[in-house]
């Protein structure tokens, strides 16, 4: 019975790729399996095959399934010590560039983007920076563009911001309205939000810094290496790559082509 489930899962992932060009074939299997199981309950489908039939014939159903397949778990200034290290170790070097391009890969609903924009503004760099914020999920990108977050969460982010070396009052960056915090839209004046897949798309620009946090853990080694390859190609000489707190280049084919700048905070430089 379980063998059949694994077969059905592979067929679903293949069907999604063939029909919609979303490529989950090299995602870490255990997590995908759980998320599909979760979707089955929400879609009220008895089998993965039944779910497959639905998404093949109904693009709206696929877009709903996509919300299960991607994991929009994020927060602003997540791992504050990481952002503090960027401020202290990376920003002084970024300041030597006349103009800066930053790629936030897998930006989800935008928390990482606004965090980076706030940090850059306080360091006087935002005006000469272009940020490319990419994700595969159009709904997440739409939310990221809005820059509206729940006020309850923003209270927790305030603590992160302070610990990350924030220089002002976090409330300076948003307007509270009912239960929401609407972030200052000038923060995203230089942000380009775009649909981009680390699994299927290629490099689109030369960049000085790439932030890809808590995205690679969902990829298998092969796909991680594809992503690292894209980052390596996009980064300028001595460009910065920053990862999530549990992500590492150690097991990658690219480990020799980067050096750690702040290893504990997962900040690397291209060699």
């Amino acid at each position: 019975m379980d063998k059949s489930t694994d077969i059905e899962l592979r067929l679903l992932i293949e069907a999604i790729y063939l029909k919609y060009s979303y490529d989950f074939r090299d995602y870490s299997g255990a997590s995908v399996k759980r998320r599909v199981a979760h979707a089955l309950r929400q879609f009220d489908c008895k089998t993965i095959s039944a779910l497959q039939e639905r998404v093949l014939h109904d693009p709206t159903a696929f877009m709903q399934l996509l919300q299960f397949l991607t994991i929009p778990v994020s927060e602003m200034f997540r791992d504050p010590s990481h952002f503090l290290a960027i401020r202290q170790e990376v920003v002084p070097l970024l300041k030597t560039y006349p103009s800066i391009k930053i790629w936030i890969a897998g930006c989800s609903t935008g928390e990482e983007v606004y965090s980076m924009a706030i940090l850059l503004r306080e360091e006087g760099l935002l005006e000469r920076t272009i940020i490319y914020a990419t994700d595969i999920n159009p709904s997440s990108l739409e939310k990221a563009k809005q820059g509206i977050f729940s006020l309850e969460n923003v209270r927790a982010y305030t603590h992160n911001y302070q610990q990350a070396g924030g220089q002002r009052s976090f409330a300076d960056y948003y307007t509270a309205a009912y239960d929401y915090a609407i972030f200052d839209k000038t923060l995203r004046e230089n942000v380009t939000f775009a649909d981009h897949s680390l699994a299927t798309d290629s490099v689109f620009s030369e960049t000085q810094l790439i932030s890809c946090r808590n995205v690679l853990i969902y990829f298998n080694k092969k796909l991680q290496d594809r992503a690292f390859g894209l980052f390596h190609e996009s980064l300028c000489h001595r460009g910065f790559l920053v990862l999530g707190s549990k992500e590492t280049l150690d097991f990658s084919a690219y480990s020799k082509q980067f050096e750690p700048l702040v290893k504990q905070e997962r900040i690397y430089r291209k060699l």
Binding site: A30, R34, I71, I217, Y218, F251
Partner: protein
């Protein structure tokens, strides 16, 4: 599954061990691992519920008291024999089909991330009947579903004797959902692990 029969429990063909614990778990795990024979040859993967914020010192604490290498599980790391892996705080820990470890940040399960259920279920998918899953003391329901999954995939399940468990909620929840192969005290669980080792060499 009674205590006497279980004391002679012999489980051949075990390739990996997964252990879950919550409240009272540190002492329980120390008691089990403290008596493992030197050179224990199987991998052990453990989820112990922790407050999210803290950096985990579990690996360091256990490394000083256990005679095998102890590490915090890292994403995409291949599972090595004779190594004790702990799930770090804030991420679920899973076993992949290629017998590597993976981390994820899906929603909490029973308010917990890492979740015992996710480790047990994914390990059962990978190891099947070669898996031994052990659920210890704790104050929530995590792990019960996972043990059932392990059993359905041919693995061996062990629940700590609720009479002995510091907090019996978790063992009882598991017993309510399935009948394990063994219900054992911590000291018997230690014996069982030691016997696995001698039988596998």
């Amino acid at each position: 599954m009674n205590e006497v029969a279980a004391s002679q429990a012999h489980v051949p063909g075990i390739e990996a061990i997964v252990i879950g614990a919550s409240a009272g778990g540190v002492e329980a795990l120390l008691s089990i691992f403290g008596n493992l024979p030197k050179g224990f040859g199987l991998p052990i993967i453990a989820v112990l519920h922790l407050p999210d914020e803290r950096r985990s010192h579990l690996a360091e604490v256990f490394a000083r008291r256990v005679s095998m290498p102890v590490v915090e599980a890292r994403d995409k790391e291949l599972i090595e024999p004779g190594t004790l892996y702990f799930a770090g705080p804030g991420y679920h820990l899973s076993v992949e089909h290629d017998r590597s470890l993976s981390l994820s940040q899906e929603d909490r399960v029973h308010h917990s991330r890492p979740a015992i259920d996710y480790l047990f279920e994914s390990a059962a998918d990978s190891y099947g009947k070669g898996l031994l899953a052990i659920l210890l003391t704790g104050a929530n329901q995590d792990g019960a579903q996972g043990l059932l999954h392990v059993q359905q995939h041919g693995g061996t399940t062990v629940v700590q004797d609720p009479a002995e468990a510091r907090v019996a909620v978790m063992p009882r929840a598991a017993l309510a959902l399935h009948t394990p192969d063994h219900i054992l005290t911590l000291s018997r669980i230690g014996d069982l692990l030691a016997s696995l080792e001698s039988s596998s060499c």
